[in-house]
């Protein structure tokens, strides 16, 4: 018998807050979470703004456990907070007779931020600079400084599998534990693969989603050098402009999204309230170039088609698309082209939006938060807007729900996530009908 996978809990930490219903209201109202960067001194960087998480009520959420997880990195802290909220919403905190060996975690978690002060100081100490020799790097000098400056525990907590490990430890989840890091596609991939695990029977419950923060000097340096970020420093509030002709790159955000996926009968037996059903997932590779997206969008096309096929749905069954919609020139053009290819004549009539216009790009965590908004959009019959949309782009000629949320019936939603390097994922969520 086919095992069905339902969502019974959701939690998120975003630049607009760390409470799902509150974040949802703000998204429907078009609220923007982008501000000047405060996490480090970015005033001379090409990009001086970001979408930062301002409030993280982790101590309240963790209570007595807070002390034990005090060493956690920013990523793991986001994941712990989102995980607790999802766990409680699912009613798992008072569920009886859970088999913890059949409950697991699958995150798209980023690497923990580098211990920048220590690592940069050690690196600089390694640069030999005396009169007799030209400046060069001397690993012996670096070693002496690094052994003084680096902290073993801080280094360990940077490992990308640590957020998933913290979450598993908190709830004693002894089942499968994975972390994927397919760049910007990671948390959609995590949720898709977690649903595959439940379907196969490897687990009955999976806490899954993603967590990431790259708002640090190295992260912003990397993206600025790639010229991937918006540099609209004089108008940061409207800088994230997915699908708009004047778009000039994405805005870096941070946060986490975690959902509780559960096998249907497991959820029903414990009387859990069901918020939606994961019905399809598709993963592909562009296999084209690490620097560019395939111009025809063959990877995204394949991922969307695979997700629809897996769901047993056709293009006419999808009422809303949560776009990857980063606000980069290439992504938005090629994503539009790929949606046209998959949805054919129906493409102009499928409303599409990108909440990255308000939250920025949460990188590995983006897909999970976007999936959560799809579930809420289905529940409330309201699709969130693509904000800051003023100038149509002839290459982006679909219905992007500009600037204002839209009331509409949504039976099923498709959520896209595409990663740097060409790993693409699409997932389909549907209203639950017994």
């Amino acid at each position: 018998m086919n095992r069905r996978i339902v969502i019974t809990g959701m939690g998120c930490v975003t630049p607009l807050g760390a409470e799902v219903e509150d974040v949802w209201k703000k998204l429907l109202a078009g609220t923007c979470g982008i501000r000047p960067t405060t996490l480090f001194d970015a005033k001379t960087f090409p990009t001086t703004f970001a979408a930062e998480v301002k409030a993280l009520p982790l101590a309240e959420l963790l209570g007595d456990e807070a002390e034990i997880h005090a060493s956690a990195s920013r990523n793991a802290r986001f994941a712990l907070a989102a995980g607790v909220m999802a766990w409680r919403q699912a009613g798992l905190d008072h569920a009886l007779a859970l088999d913890h060996t059949r409950m697991g975690v699958y995150l798209g978690g980023g690497e923990g931020p580098l211990d920048f002060a220590a690592a940069s100081q050690a690196a600089i100490a390694g640069c030999r600079d005396d009169q007799a020799n030209p400046i060069d790097f001397d690993s012996m000098r670096w070693a002496s400084a690094a052994m003084e400056l680096l902290n073993g525990e801080r280094e360990l907590e940077q490992e990308p599998n640590l957020a998933a490990a913290h979450v598993a430890s908190l709830f004693n989840l002894e089942g499968p534990n994975f972390n994927t890091l397919t760049a910007c596609a990671a948390s959609t991939q995590a949720i898709g693969e977690a649903s595959n695990m439940i379907q196969y029977g490897d687990a009955d419950v999976m806490l899954t989603g993603g967590t990431h923060s790259m708002i640090h000097p190295i992260g912003v340096t990397g993206f600025n050098r790639l010229t991937a970020l918006s540099t609209r420093n004089d108008d940061w509030a409207t800088a994230s402009r997915p699908f708009d002709r004047s778009r000039d790159g994405f805005v870096l955000g941070e946060g986490a999204g975690i959902v509780v996926l559960e096998e249907l009968s497991h959820a029903q037996q414990r009387g859990a309230s069901i918020m939606g059903e994961i019905v399809g997932f598709g993963s592909t590779a562009d296999a084209y170039r690490v620097t560019d997206i395939h111009a025809e969008g063959r990877g995204p096309i394949g991922a969307m088609r695979a997700a629809l096929h897996n769901a047993g749905l056709g293009p006419s069954d999808i009422d809303y698309i949560s776009a990857h919609g980063t606000g980069t020139e290439e992504n938005d053009k090629i994503e539009t082209r790929a949606i046209r290819e998959v949805f054919g004549d129906k493409a102009p009539r499928v409303p599409i939006s990108s909440i990255k216009s308000m939250l920025g790009h949460l990188i590995a965590a983006a897909g999970a938060v976007e999936l959560i908004t799809c579930v809420l959009a289905i529940r409330d019959g309201m699709a969130p807007p693509t904000m800051h949309y003023t100038t149509p782009d002839p290459n982006c000629d679909l219905d992007y729900i500009p600037n204002q949320a839209r009331k509409m019936k949504i039976r099923a939603a498709l959520s896209n996530s595409f990663g740097f390097g060409g790993q693409n994922n699409a997932i389909v969520v549907q209203a639950f009908t017994p």
């Binding site: 060996t101 690196a123 052994m147 534990n177 397919t182 760049a183 592909t284 590779a285 690490v290």
Partner: protein, 446 residues
């Protein structure tokens, strides 16, 4: 799961400090060679651990088509090793991919559909090239010792090439391999430390079993022989700092007097294939993957459960998935590190599942001859164990004869032993976090 497809292993490609390709490493293992030696990649004389397992030199051009040569500039060492492993795996399996066709190494056309070829590669946390980063940082120092972020933001960062970030993203191992071999089916990057390879292979196994791909290139790869990785492991207290002058004996998995692990690099990628596809192209079948199980050690993310709870869960789940009783397993492939708390935990987990007969079974690990290759370790050992199964040969496990306790694994020393190996089980285990995963392979029978 209904209509589950059978999945077989048709090729293994490894790059280890003992050699490139399965044959060289296999021969070196049988000859009980060690690859642990003084670290050459950089001057480690001021570090407390100065030895490592490092790959022999290779020319990347030998493993890619001409069309990908420009992209080699965007490859850190981890990516390079992944590309080397993928080439060896594809050749070993007799697969003809875009790479093989473009290199004119095949008479015929591609024998696998790009849209049915997937890639899943476990990767580590890849540090940026330290020299490149340090020299760039050094241009933005105004007080003689620390980075001035305002100078860095305005000018310093331009000392890094525009595509700098792309060299160190862990998903780029899989992405380069998908491009080199034109693999467009499901693709993933698992980052769970030393368990990554087993998790990636296990997930690819499920992907093929349910029909989402017909062939997958999967496993794990990592290089930890760079200053930042070695420095981090020293600060975490994991490395053997006592045997710098005695590298041959420095890596002692499950030894009596454990002094820590030896850092290493390398990787293993294997070709998994659904049975029909392998049959259609008359592939040589090395074994059938019949079980995957994973569990999590929730004891503490910084140290393993002394009772080996996660290990026992992963092993028993994999055996249950394979419908194999512990009695029926002929070869065990434990992970082993040389770090006391990890090896004790692992041993306890194995003992929980296999009971008093644990030491009576043949066992093999490559750790004694090459150290811990990060996310590459598990997949290397898995590949070697598949070869052991397919050739009925238990390779000797170097340095395991130094354990005096009788109550450990039945490792072989002194030379290879012939044995009828029908079923083997292999474990991958992360040092941080607590992820554990096991794979069961049987000899293929119609």
């Amino acid at each position: 799961m209904q209509n589950k497809k059978r999945v077989v292993v048709t090729g293994v490609g490894i790059a280890t400090p003992l050699g490139l390709g399965i044959e060289t490493t296999w021969d070196a293992l049988l000859a009980q060679q060690t690859a642990i030696a003084p670290l050459k990649a950089f001057d480690a004389s001021k570090l407390s651990s100065k030895i490592a397992g490092e790959l022999p030199a290779f020319k990347l051009g030998d493993f890619i088509p001409k069309s990908h040569r420009k992209s080699t500039k965007l490859m850190c060492r981890d990516i390079e090793i992944a590309v080397v492993c993928a080439y060896h795996a594809v050749k070993h399996a007799g697969l003809v991919t875009k790479c093989i066709v473009e290199r004119s190494e095949s008479q015929g056309e591609a024998n696998v559909d790009p849209q049915r070829l997937g890639v899943s590669i476990g990767a580590g946390l890849i540090p940026a090239d330290l020299r490149e980063l340090a020299m760039a940082f050094n241009t933005a120092v105004t007080d003689g010792k620390t980075l001035d972020l305002t100078v860095w933001g305005a000018e310093g960062m331009t000392n890094l090439t525009p595509l700098w970030l792309l060299k160190f993203l862990p998903n780029m191992l899989a992405c380069h391999v998908t491009i080199v071999h034109d693999a467009q089916a499901p693709s993933n990057t698992i980052t769970c430390g030393e368990a990554s390879g087993h998790l990636a292979i296990g997930e690819a196994y499920r992907t093929i079993a349910r029909g989402d791909a017909e062939v997958c290139i999967c496993g794990g790869v990592e290089s930890k022989t760079n200053p930042m990785a070695v420095g981090r492991q020293i600060k975490m207290g994991r490395l053997n700092t006592q045997d710098n002058n005695n590298p041959t004996c420095a890596s002692q998995p499950f030894g009596d007097d454990q002094k820590g692990m030896v850092i290493s690099e390398g990787g293993g990628l294997v070709i998994l294939e659904c049975l029909e596809h392998a049959r259609q192209r008359n592939a040589h079948i090395l074994g059938e993957l019949v079980g995957f199980g994973c569990g999590h050690d929730t004891y503490h993310w910084q140290k393993p459960c002394p009772k080996g709870r996660g290990t026992a869960l992963a092993l028993s789940k994999a055996l249950a998935d394979a419908d194999v009783k512990p009695d029926a397993v002929d070869l065990l492939n434990p992970f082993g590190t040389g770090i006391a708390m990890h090896d004790a935990s692992e041993l306890a987990g194995w003992r929980e599942v296999f009971g008093p007969q644990l030491g009576d079974k043949h066992a093999a690990t490559t750790r004694g001859s090459m150290g811990v290759n990060g996310a590459g370790s598990g997949a290397i050992d898995f590949a070697v164990s598949v070869m052991a199964l397919s050739t009925n040969t238990v390779p000797p496990s170097l340095n395991t004869d130094r354990a005096t306790s009788a109550n450990t694994f039945g490792f072989v020393s002194g030379g290879a032993v012939d044995a009828n190996i029908q079923t083997m089980i292999s474990l991958g285990s992360s040092l941080s976090g607590g992820q554990r995963a096991a794979l069961v392979v049987k000899k293929f029978k119609e």
